[in-house]
Subunit: 404 residues, 2 copies
């Protein structure tokens, strides 16, 4: 026993030992009840860290700065602002990202190159450095402000997204925690996904990089809200070793950690997909029986990214033709005559063709808050999942009605 | 002169010498004013032909049949039905595609393997062969039923799409004509794009294949209505040599033909993009100054495919951040600090950052029926264009309200 992964009640990024956080409202975004727009995560000791970033060719200088400091890999803190993406502002962007780290370096008394920065919000507008200079030094760090930090990174998200889980390695309790903001379109310019993960595990840097990348491929890379990738997308993990476990140096020894990391990342990814603008329900696509894991991942991603599937789900329409088409569009290996399709466990396609089902049962199944679309390709042993939002009139109104 | 490309008034697929057509209403789709649902294009002599087809892994057996007969390359006719896609119906699909060709073979008194077939409409439903058997023999061919054929391939399209142009090679008048149906979502299952091109030019088979593929890359492959690729997409060209020009045997000798073919294909592609469901206006994206033509094509395709750009255009919002993001998401070679963006010729971004412009002028520009978004990357000499529809509430309503 003692070896299962436990969910921590009210868990947040301060749950792992040695992490504290703080947040403040500086006025970068418009005011509102209990709003915050600058947040800091701080580790009391040096961390081993890893990150994955947007693949967009246009990148926020905040991302450029953070990639640079990650090379030294002795991160102690991350400073995040919401309301301004610090992107497409010319050379001033990098100067501002660096100055943000400098301000935090002084106020936290740690080295400049141990500080990552991240930004989310409007693009094409310079970071209001006067506010950054005034408010960052006022941020108070404590082990109780994880939830405050979670609020400080939100933009159009309807709710905070945070989680912590723990498990045991040879008597040491390890905690992994995460916080994220959604990829829902940001008023007025773009979608950004940010996620920060903290853990007190002691782990080798290369093993950490490998586990993060593998977890991100199963979680954040498997969601679709509106299909666009932002200039600021960042997933960052900091591990400070405060759990005092025997340092993990081989990928073979971190099954349990990987499982916990998956739980954190998949939870956050699903929360993001659920919180897309104009969105009320979650689509979960599962592809089974694929020749490779990559095939399964690609096919599920196509299903949740298809506007036709998204609108069909919104219309409670068990439109298996659209699901077949999305799977086919992914151009993976398949044998059409072996395909089975299920909507919330009710089979609607067998041997690649429609099978008789009770229409009303399926429509009722499609009224659930989570709509599970399962495709069995029956050509192999691999499975993957992906999550997406519906496409609603509200999405269109939200994203067209605002004029910059 | 006589060497420019002339548009033919009321031109249609019967404009090139030696082509006739016919159409009929068989009841495969629901009846309505002047509806037709089976059509035939017929060449009085053997054709050299070429085709490009859907890349979807799930393919209609009608496509499979047509690919097969194209290998022999002595096409005389194509039989098209709308209302039923003949897809995802198991092995019956291929039998029905073949029988369709057999029926036409008898009624037209030509070889079975000189007949291509194409289908569009609902998937998962078998072709109503009783109707095919009864009505195909009743179709009367003439040189005046090009417009009837154009109607017979429509599904949710609001209007027919047809064009013919002519030019001169060494005293021979060459005509190139085309007809298409849109990729707008087909009630209730999927989007299919069909295009048929006829010409009386005398041309070598391999040169024809190369020109078709190059034209399709600049036209049909550069449009986005809802981003999904259908199981039935087909572009087919038939050339019968009746213009009696000296046979073109080298790609270097067919500049004029390629230009005419581009004119036909780009016209039809734009008509399809304009006719997307819930769509009233056309987005035309141009990327200039790219390092390669492929880069330019990719970037324009990303712009017109982005839900965020589509909704911004619908909202008359000159949201250059979304355009920058779409260009960046294509992961092409670029230098952010050199990017310029124009909306209908009004510059809104210079050196990668917002430039002052009269907001009201841009909003007025965005009220035009065609919204031209132009990006100059300033890193090379290559240009490409792509076309897309807006994303409107009506699209969502249309695609969600119908329950299969």
């Amino acid at each position: 026993m003692g070896n299962e992964i436990k969910n921590i009640k009210n868990g947040n990024i301060c749950s792992p030992k040695g992490f504290i956080a703080g947040s403040i409202f500086a006025g970068i975004k418009s005011p509102g009840q209990d709003k915050r727009d600058i947040g800091i995560i701080f580790s009391e000791t040096d961390c081993v860290s890893a990150g994955t970033f947007t693949q967009n060719s246009v990148v926020s200088p905040s991302v450029t700065w953070t990639k640079k400091v990650l090379q030294d890999n002795r991160l102690r803190a991350v400073v995040v602002n919401s309301g301004c993406a610090n992107c497409a502002v010319g050379e001033q962007g990098f100067l501002d990202a660096k100055e943000t780290a400098e301000i935090a370096s002084k106020s936290l008394s740690i080295d400049l190159d141990s500080i990552a920065v991240a930004s989310t919000g409007i693009i094409g507008v310079e970071l209001p450095m006067a506010l950054m200079r005034k408010f960052i030094p006022q941020i108070e760090l404590s082990d109780s402000d994880g939830p405050g930090f979670a609020r400080s990174i939100l933009t159009t998200d309807k709710r905070t997204k945070e989680i912590a889980v723990s498990f045991d390695i040879d008597g040491s309790e390890i905690t992994v925690a995460g916080v994220a903001k959604g990829s829902g379109m940001i008023h007025p310019n773009m979608a950004t996904m940010l996620a920060f993960i903290t853990s007190d595990i002691s782990i080798d840097e290369n093993v950490l990089k490998e586990t993060l990348s593998s977890s991100v491929n199963r979680s954040f890379n498997q969601i679709s809200v509106d299909g666009d990738q932002s200039t600021n997308d960042t997933v960052l993990i900091m591990t400070n070793g405060n759990a005092n476990n025997k340092k993990i140096t081989k990928i073979e020894d971190c099954d349990k950690f990987l499982e916990a990391l998956d739980e954190v990342c998949i939870f956050l990814a699903k929360e993001i997909a659920k919180d897309g603008e104009g969105n009320t329900r979650l689509i979960e696509a599962t592809v089974q029986g694929a020749k490779t894991e990559d095939d399964a991942r690609k096919a599920t991603k196509y299903i949740v990214s298809s506007n036709l599937v998204k609108t069909a789900v919104y219309g409670r329409d068990p439109n298996w033709g659209r699901i077949m088409m999305a799977v086919g569009a992914s151009q993976i290996d398949l044998d059409e005559s072996k395909i089975e399709i299920f909507v919330n466990d009710i089979q609607i396609v067998a041997d690649g063709i429609a099978t008789p089902y009770n229409h009303q049962s399926v429509v009722i199944a499609m009224n659930q808050p989570i709509i599970r679309l399962t495709v069995n390709l029956n050509v192999g042993e691999n499975t993957a999942k992906a999550w997406g939002s519906e496409l609603t009139e509200e999405y269109v109104v939200f994203n067209s009605a605002y004029t910059t």
